[in-house]
């Protein structure tokens, strides 16, 4: 990892007896796109509020851009950009006025601020609506505007709290493009919370899955998915001899489950290499393949595994997975 831009050690927040965030520890490297995932109430927003100096730290330590959030909140504030999950852009002001106000509050000289505002509004495709009042904007436009508001002072790190909350699928994908572009082209470190797992999967280099105020697992989406055992191949064949022995002998296969008299589910890190061998082996044994399909693990399944619950109903795991999940 490159230099750490965020270092969090045993960070804890208690509200009375309730512990919202419980001794979490993690590091984020410069230029990284880091996702903080979890269901509502997991402690995501409390964590982001501590890192952005809105909420005080009960215990532990958080360093952001080299400064302690408790001891030097002013230094932290000058270097971070924050995009809250609420829609806070002022309805009665125009888009560009909203951006310029935050430039002023971050003491960006006015000429530079104008230039930067127009660049950012172009980046988020709002240049045509820049002079219109925000009350005429759609929800997606308001979210994009807030992105520009959070970036106008050229922060080293951008905190995005649920950036695509309430957006439809198309607008959400567009939002991801902007975030990706900011990260890759402008080199801005991004710390985002989300409860859309496919969002984290599509965008983030590393994710932490939080639940009940603690980090359950941390790693790249690919790593985490790999830990589930990789791809799942389901194959249904004509009646005949048991194939378990053969399937288990195929190179790299981790596990074989016979789900009915002639159906098998095979767990394997990567399906590509093994597939021809499996198909040939089955026909050599005089059996016909009646149905074959495979699924790649998703973050939803990782989430289900580490938290024991599903984050939401849609895009849930396929039928074959719970079968194996119980054994994992």
């Amino acid at each position: 990892m490159t230099n750490s831009i965020i270092q969090v050690e045993k960070l804890t927040k208690k509200y009375g007896d309730k512990t919202a965030v419980d001794h979490i520890t993690f590091d984020i490297g410069e230029g990284e796109l880091f996702g903080f995932l979890g269901p509502n109430g997991a402690g995501k927003t409390t964590t982001i509020r501590m890192l952005t100096t809105i909420t005080s730290v009960t215990e532990g330590k958080a360093m952001v851009v080299g400064y302690d959030v408790s001891k030097n909140p002013g230094e932290v504030r000058a270097r971070i950009g924050v995009v809250p999950q609420q829609l806070i852009a002022d309805d009665e002001l125009t888009g560009v006025e909203n951006v310029l106000l935050f430039a002023k509050l971050h003491h960006v000289p006015s000429e530079k601020a104008r230039k930067r505002a127009s660049e950012l509004l172009e980046l988020v495709d709002l240049q045509a609506s820049a002079e219109k009042k925000v009350k005429t904007y759609s929800g997606g436009m308001k979210r994009r505007l807030q992105l520009a508001m959070g970036l106008v002072h050229d922060p080293s790190i951008l905190f995005l709290d649920e950036p695509s909350l309430g957006l439809d699928i198309q607008t959400r994908a567009k939002m991801w493009d902007y975030v990706r572009k900011l990260n890759t082209e402008n080199g801005i470190t991004v710390f985002m919370t989300t409860h859309y797992l496919e969002e984290a999967d599509a965008l983030c280099e590393r994710v932490a899955i939080v639940d009940g105020g603690t980090i359950k697992v941390l790693g790249s989406p690919a790593e985490l998915k790999m830990r589930l055992g990789g791809d799942l191949l389901s194959v249904q064949v004509s009646e005949g001899p048991d194939l378990r022995g053969f399937l288990e002998s195929v190179h790299d296969v981790n596990e074989v489950v016979k789900s009915s008299s002639s159906s098998y589910v095979i767990k394997i890190p990567r399906i590509e290499k093994a597939l021809p061998q499996i198909v040939d082996g089955i026909s050599q044994r005089g059996l016909k393949i009646l149905d074959i399909s495979f699924t790649r693990p998703t973050l939803d399944q990782v989430f289900l595994q580490v938290t024991g619950k599903q984050i939401r109903d849609e895009n849930g795991p396929t039928q074959a997975i719970p079968l194996l999940m119980e054994k994992v």
Partner: protein
Amino acid sequence: MISDTIALSGRSLKKWIRNPFSIIPIAIQALVWLLLFGNSFNPGSALSSSGGSLGILKEAFGGATNYITFLTPGIIGMLALTGMTFLGVDFVIDRLNGYLDMLKTSPIPRASIYFGGVLQNIVKAMAAAGITFVVALVVPNGLRLSSGFGITNLLGVFFAVAMLTTVFSTLFTGISVAAKSTDSFFAVVNFLFFPVAFTSTALFPLSFFPGWLKPVARANPISLASEAARLVIVNGTLSAAQLSSYLGDILGLLVYAIVFTAMGIFLARNSLKAD
């Protein structure tokens, strides 16, 4: 800090100026109050021969020729008070919709968030005062300025008004910045409103108050500003004795403003620190 304060108050003032519903009601309200109180409470109307002027009561009413002349500074003060109670709610809304959190992540002094509110409310209240003054001049049997009333006199009147709006703005912005909900804000405001409005000499001179209430009425900020403004409206250029009375009133308002500002900064620091 000053530029932050101006930027923050500019946000609110821009919205306010663009909204016709923020200006027109002030004029209507001024008209209603002046006509309603100006006629219903007019002691001159009880005098059969006065034709609405204060007649023999003139001296009791600080030398004002008619009741609206006496009443105008009082109505300006009352409107500053009612206006402030509504303007203060902006802060509570900003807190509830997350705007204050966004401000908290900006590298601006916490006090500038408070002063931004104070400044915008003063500007709005001064605009309301200006409108009320003009309305008072044009209503029938309305405000009669002293002969030779000039620009210095006008400044004298509005300086007293500015001091009063500063007192109210520093107080109510402080309350609103500390309030966690609209309910708690209005609870405090309602508690303050009637005592402040009706123990003042906005509607009647001090001599009308019972003895035990006189010190309270005299020290009421609306009274201080009304008395100071009336001196200038009725007399124009002030004599040395009148000037010292005027400055005494201004000093009283200044004390209030300093106390409320200190309180407001304290409340702002407390309510805007990391929670």
